[in-house]
Amino acid sequence: MGKPVRALAVVAVAALGLAACGGGSDDDSSGSGGGKTLVIASELPLQGSSADASTDTNNMIKVYLDSIGNKAGDYTIQLKEYDNSTATAGQWDAATCTANAQKHVQAADEVAVMGAYNSGCSKLLAPVLNQDPKGPMLQVSHASTNTGLTKAADPGEPELYAPSGKKSFARVTTTDDVQGTAAADFASETLKVKKCYILNDNQTYGQGIAKAFEDRAKEVGIEVVANEPYDEKATNYTAMFEKIKATNPDCLYVGGIYDVNGGQLLKDKVSVLGDNETVKMMAPDGWTGYPELDKQKESEGLYATFTGLATAQLEEQGGAAAELLKAYEEEYGSAPRTNYALYGAAAVQVIVEAIEKSDGTKKGVRDAVFEGEGITVPAEESATGKEIVIDPATGDTTAKDVSVLIGKDGAQTFVQAQAVE
């Protein structure tokens, strides 16, 4: 019994040894001609439930970088993909986020980080990148919409994410509070509902957006029956909706993402409360861009808000976004599976713009965004079809348009833009 094990061990050790010698050169610097090569890191969960969305986002960024010839001013740009998930967790992992943050700081040629996808991960990354001795190091997120990252929300925010006293976190999406507010405005002005029931998925994003909807709804005179979390592990929600039915609301708002058992929730909503014409149902951008959702027949008449323009709109509108989508389809054979893919490209646009204006150092790239007049990406170049202006004081984008979509014949189609003051 002992011998085979020993043999196995020897083989294993040998394999390890070989691997250690052979590996270690996986990031080859291809910047031979032209100026210095600078690296932009993308920080996404590449395993678990968000894997597809993350892969497509990385691909879209590559398509964009190809379209500009991998150049920003004199510098050659390279994308380095970081994975902040573990298979064990099946989603982003706090320890991996922190470990990656350390790697970004240590990597001499990395000048900025694109990401993270999850607000929770951004909250861990931002303070570390901010304390970079050669920085602060710029971080531009395409999807971390949590309000506190840039604005006062919980006590101590947003200063908590900038311990050096200088900001370094920017983003190209609007925040949860803007979207929730817009949704409440739409509910009151257009749908003219009077009594809403709010459910949330009990996650950072879902709670934040549900709270924003609740606050605004009360201001504009909608009665809010309750704002409570639903159990993501429940096998059905019939009992919950029976209870909700007894309170007789004419609208249901769900703050959360479709991944969190949204299919079942929607099915049971329609079977108990009636179709989406009888009792209006609304959801945020966490319920957009899911082929399964569009296929579900209960999604007929479901209103969803989205920060910016939906992919179909961008294609019709033409311009940079449409070209990117076209190039993407040529390269990968299908449209990206997430609306955030274009936002990833938009975040990289901001970084590229900053690199052009900078001296190629971490500090220079950060200063290009947060000192002086900040970064502007004009509408005709922007991957989101709208002008992107990063406010140097906060790091937020000034574009606050929210579009409202409705589920119709197996697709989410554009209804109207909801302006936010």
Binding site: V5, L18, T88, A94, T98, Q102, G156, Q207
Partner: protein
């Protein structure tokens, strides 16, 4: 104990092997490895080329080393419950969480948010808050370690108490239950109490802004800063390493003492142990308490390692990986468990992905190895169960027990009692 003092001279266990290597080989080996890692990362690595640094960083970054040390502390804690006392615990992650939240409450600005009336609370006991984060409670890191260990010990007793009447599978199920309940409490602890006024965990948003580790008198050594900041990974390595050494030392010393021998007795035969006068209740509870205390220390270290406490981290798979570390390393053997934990933690963080890259480079395949993590773990576990049931570096005692022919089997086969274990096993396999 209420038993009368025996008049006969105390029977001591046979004196341990006295050869120098047998006694000090392992501790000196670990110490040397620690010194090597520190010296290499502190002085040699910065002098090497950028390419080598990047390559090395993708194989064995300092953050992964530090994280592995913390995993090892947890594994040693679980080893006391599972390895020493034989109480199968599937909910050990609960103590990781409790330790983490103790750190979140006592060394972060979060305490301001616990109740509206605490908004102006500012309390510090030699605390080291991050600049601009002086609100809330800031207790010195080293004190928090002690507090967390005590809190977790109490929690261990509370969780352990109702499980005492249960055995084997039933015990495992109840601990599994606790391991599921506590993370849910952490996730939902944002609005509790009357009117939902109390925010005890900040829900899924978690607690961010952990205090730094003060170096105390060591700051007078040139090159050592007053507090260990975000980027002083090598100094954190020393702190975590010291805590691991402490955990190993405590594990080893307790094992030799009365308590440790009582644990082993319970593990081997509970009925016999109680007949011999081992107070089952107290001994089992102390196993839970000591094991949980390690978890508390690890939880605080982990919170400072990642700079926050996030509820999503505390899921069931963590308990399972910890159990795998203990089993693979060699249940009951401190050295084995430590080696197993360091190894598995490395595989889980960077190892598997990197080995996968090498495999892909060599064979031209495009397999995402990291996402087959559990498949690989499962395969390793099965292989170990087939070929090396006692673990990587087994405890001498476990090896004896496992290699001893099982009596029932032998009797039913009518085999020769003198036959070697392997013969018997082979015959058992033929059935």
């Amino acid at each position: 104990m209420s038993t009368t003092t025996p008049t006969a001279p105390v029977v001591r266990p046979p004196a341990p092997k006295t050869s120098f290597l047998a006694r000090f080989g392992w501790p000196l080996g670990f110490f040397a490895a620690g010194v090597l890692v520190f010296v290499f990362n502190q002085w040699i690595l910065p002098e090497t080329s950028t390419e080598f640094q990047n390559g090395f960083g993708s194989w064995l970054p300092m953050t992964a080393v530090n994280e592995a040390l913390i995993w090892a502390i947890f594994a040693l804690g679980l080893n006391i419950v599972v390895g020493y006392s034989g109480l199968l615990d599937l909910g050990y992650v609960a103590f990781w969480g409790i330790g983490g939240y103790v750190a979140g409450w006592l060394m972060a600005p979060f305490a301001n948010q616990v109740h509206p009336s605490w908004a102006n609370l500012s309390f510090s006991v030699w605390g080291n808050p991050l600049p601009g984060q002086e609100r809330g409670i800031h207790i010195n890191f080293w004190l928090v370690l002690i507090i967390a260990a005590l809190v977790c010990a109490v929690a261990g007793v509370i969780i352990g108490a109702p499980t005492l009447r249960l055995k084997s599978d039933y015990l495992a199920l109840v601990t599994l239950g606790f391991g599921e309940i506590l993370p849910e409490v952490f996730r939902n602890g944002e609005r509790v109490g009357p009117n939902g006024e109390w925010n005890i965990t900040n829900g899924t948003k978690g607690i961010i802004g952990m205090d730094q580790i003060p170096t105390g008198p060591f700051q007078y050594i040139p090159g050592v800063p007053e507090t260990i900041g975000t980027f002083d990974l090598n100094l954190k390595f020393i702190v975590f390493g010291l805590m691991l050494a402490l955990a190993m030392f405590v594990s080893l010393r307790i094992r030799e003492g009365r308590l440790g021998r009582a644990w082993l007795a319970i593990r081997e035969d509970e009925l016999a142990a109680s007949m011999m006068g081992v107070p089952l209740m107290r001994i089992k509870l102390s196993a839970y308490a000591v094991g949980a205390a390690f978890g508390g220390i690890g939880g605080v270290l982990y919170a400072t390692h990642i700079g926050g406490v996030l509820a999503d981290r505390f899921n069931f798979s963590v308990s399972i990986i910890l159990l795998a570390m203990v089993v693979l390393g060699g249940m009951g053997n401190v050295w084995g468990v430590t080696v197993g934990a360091l190894l598995l933690a490395w595989i889980n963080s960077t190892g598997l992905g990197q080995l996968g890259n090498v495999w892909n480079d060599v064979t031209g395949a495009e397999v995402n190895f990291a996402s087959h993590n559990f498949l690989v773990f499962g395969a390793i576990l099965v292989l170990f169960m087939l070929f090396r049931r006692e673990g990587l570096i087994p405890e001498a005692r476990t090896r004896q027990v496992l290699q001893e022919p099982e009596r029932g089997e032998i009797e039913s086969l009518g085999a020769d009692m003198e036959g070697t274990a392997e013969d018997t096993a082979a015959e058992g396999g033929k059935k």
